[in-house]
Symmetry: C2
Subunit: 214 residues, 2 copies
DNA sequence: ACCTGAACACCGTTCAAGT
DNA sequence: ACCTGAACACCGTTCAAGT
């Protein structure tokens, strides 16, 4: 075939197919050859659009971050606790839809534009709300810890549904743990919600203690 | 050589070498062949001790979890907020010493004995302290979210030290972000500490509101 | 510019063979 | 029981060749 008159591939098409493969079969299932097959193309073709597999992964990650709602930040934004609450929920929803890619994304914004935009919006909003810059940085960090941690893997699904695992002699309090996986959604969302509320209440206490507020 | 009179390998020796390789060069650097070379042995030899690479990774993960201090839990344990505080710090320290393996470990306890022991100790302590079982489960989950999220990757180091990245037109509040990587330790530990305190203060508020406490 | 097949240096894992 | 080399079906990436 050689060069077709209209390109078979585009960065966009590759990114979409890669994310689907990662979602359906995990990060390990994403090989350049497998992805190429999925796109009805030969392996090396991808290298006309991305220099390396890592560059492709970066693009996939940034497309996921692009789904996070940032409209609650900025000049006409909400008070910081509400803004942080709404943002954290949107952030978690975007990530939890693609848990297999969270370990890659958690490596930090790097040079990815959507990730930098997100960091910029959160930090700017906190500083405008009166948080000292050092504290605003830490709040951005700690919120990311909590959200990525919650999206990385289901807590409930980490416990095998097989009751035999939980020998009462070894684990006296885990007698009901085999039921956890069955309530996966409720447990994980409940834990996220509880943690988010606790975190924001704790931060509100700290905000009230801030000395230099006008 | 064939079978030597004293074994060249043991699960213990393999696990230690694997963890060092992961710490030094990342999860991707751990290949069975590379690890075998490191142990002065041929690739397939490892399969006399572990059925698959995944089983080996599981053993590595559980050895890391085994470093977490659980002595603050149980009958003679501390009040729950102090116990949780001390445990979270020990948990984070153990994980942050081996960030490259956190994505594997975050998949949940599975059948790993040290991970199950940890879950058992936390849950048991919270229930004994008067938390309803459902809430105790959620607290175990949310603490794990926060700790694994904080150990997965440095927040500060995720921002490139190259000032050119932060174009003021695109990211108006990130003018100082290139300095973050240089203060990596202080930023990440400060964020963890702030988040942990906020979380525990928020949970204490919720505990005080619990209806059925005697 | 954008695709191809061939090639290189790797992978995880199986298996028959050796002691 | 515990090690070996050979082999299988994979990897990411490079490169010369085609249009």
């Amino acid at each position: 075939m050689a060069r077709p008159r209209t390109p078979l591939l585009s960065r966009e098409r590759i990114v979409v197919a890669a994310l689907r493969l990662i979602d359906d079969e995990g990060l390990d299932a994403l090989s350049t050859r497998r992805l190429a097959t999925e796109l009805s193309v030969s392996g090396p073709s991808l290298y006309n659009h991305f220099a390396t597999k890592d560059e492709l992964l970066d693009a996939v990650v940034d497309s996921v971050i692009g789904e996070v709602d940032l409209s609650m930040f900025g000049a006409a934004g909400a008070p910081w606790p509400e803004a942080l609450y709404d943002w954290a929920r949107s952030y978690r929803a975007a990530l939890a839809a693609h848990p297999n890619i969270v370990p890659v994304l958690a490596q930090g914004p790097g040079r990815r534009p959507n990730a930098l935009r997100l960091a910029d919006a959160v930090f700017g909003h906190l500083v405008d709300a009166g948080w000292p810059r050092g504290q605003a940085t830490r709040i951005g960090a700690l919120m990311r810890y909590f959200v990525t941690g919650s999206a990385l893997a289901s807590f409930a699904a980490g416990f095998p549904a097989d009751a035999e695992v939980y020998d009462a002699a070894d684990y006296p309090h885990l007698g009901e743990a085999h039921r956890l996986a069955g309530h996966r959604g409720a447990v994980d969302e409940g834990a996220f919600e509880t943690g988010l509320e606790a975190l924001l209440e704790g931060l509100a206490l700290r905000y009230a203690r801030l000395p230099e507020r006008a």
